[in-house]
Amino acid sequence: METTTAEFEPKIIAFLCNWCTYAGADLAGTSRLKYPANIRAIRLTCTGRIEPMFLLKAFQEGADAVLVSGCHPGDCHYTSGNYHARRRWTVFRKLLEFSGIDPRRVLFSWVSAAEGRKWSELVAEITAQVRALGPFTSFERIVKA
């Protein structure tokens, strides 16, 4: 295991809201803040649009972790999308944990359009964390079966 984790490069699929975190990631870019290339962002209108099934599909396609990120409470471009999302995740992540998906592979954050730095630091942090966890082989087993 150690040997594999050593050179193991995790794949992290991120679902970002267009208005805050995607813009925040843009800002990280315009500010030339460096972070690991393991993250792959999918742009959506709002965290309120992000369905639990997206996360499952991400794991199906071999994600070692998923990240959902959007506007801070109160800042939702659509006023309340992130509040509804927050409830959805509160339950769903617990359900995933209960049905055997390590919560450290199911990540959530609020990153505003102004938090380019937070974004780059976040990505660096979770990439390290997931690298330490190693590849999500147990789920791969289910997918392949």
């Binding site: 499952l56 199906q60 409830r87 509160t90 339950v91 049905s99 954050s109 789920f139």
Partner: protein, 279 residues
Amino acid sequence: MIEQLRQRARELLGEGKVALVIGHGRGSSPQATFPVFITKADAVDRLVFNPFCRNNLAVYLTRKDIMPKGAVGLVARPEEVRSVAVLVQEQQFDADRVVLIGVACAEPGKEGAACEMLKGRTLKELEAEVAERLKGRDPAQDVAARVKELEAMTPEQRLAFWEKEFSRCIRCYACRQACPMCYCERCIVEKNQPQWIPSSARPLGNYFWNVIRAFHLAGRCIGCGACARACPMGIPLDLLNAKVAREVKESFAYEAGFDHEVPPPMASFRTDDEQEFIK
């Protein structure tokens, strides 16, 4: 007690208050009761009630091929009362479409346990009465205990556990069909463009199906256990439901089926909902 039950049914049908009464009927043994549909006042003697009446009859209330245009009388244990509350809350029918004949058993499933009529007539009254009855006592402690056992495991162990359980799933959807809350015209598992959940009875599809099924019951499942009882392969689906119900209770201080007038937790929010898990 059974006479009172039949009397109510007789009146309702006799006075034309309802076109149909759904209740439990006598089977080959007390353990073997089954749902009956009574349309004539003189047939109410087919109704029985005992601790072994476990089918959740509310499941029929959304069956378009069964429901008459008129009102329906429903022999309603606390499980049915709560189910109806959720169904009304979710606009599936107006409260006055269903006349509840409230019944309850002190210890469901226990030979000779006392059964009685509930006092409440309206849904609101019965919600309150049922809430009162259930206060303090958790009907499904064994389930709660098994949930705790699972929680004590590592994620890997849990995944292995469910992998094994789900491997038996034959996708007969008895769990779904037995559940009053699964009233969708087209279940998500039948959506194939794009396909949400693989329909083959294989590990991935089985995992997706059972997880999503449980999630779709968030804030809606009233814990009647019909799904688990219906499962011919003995998969402990009630554990998933119980876990979700508990999270909803702990996070949003909400339990399904006690008040049909409040907004459902998964369609509402508080600005101060918990969010420690969000970085």
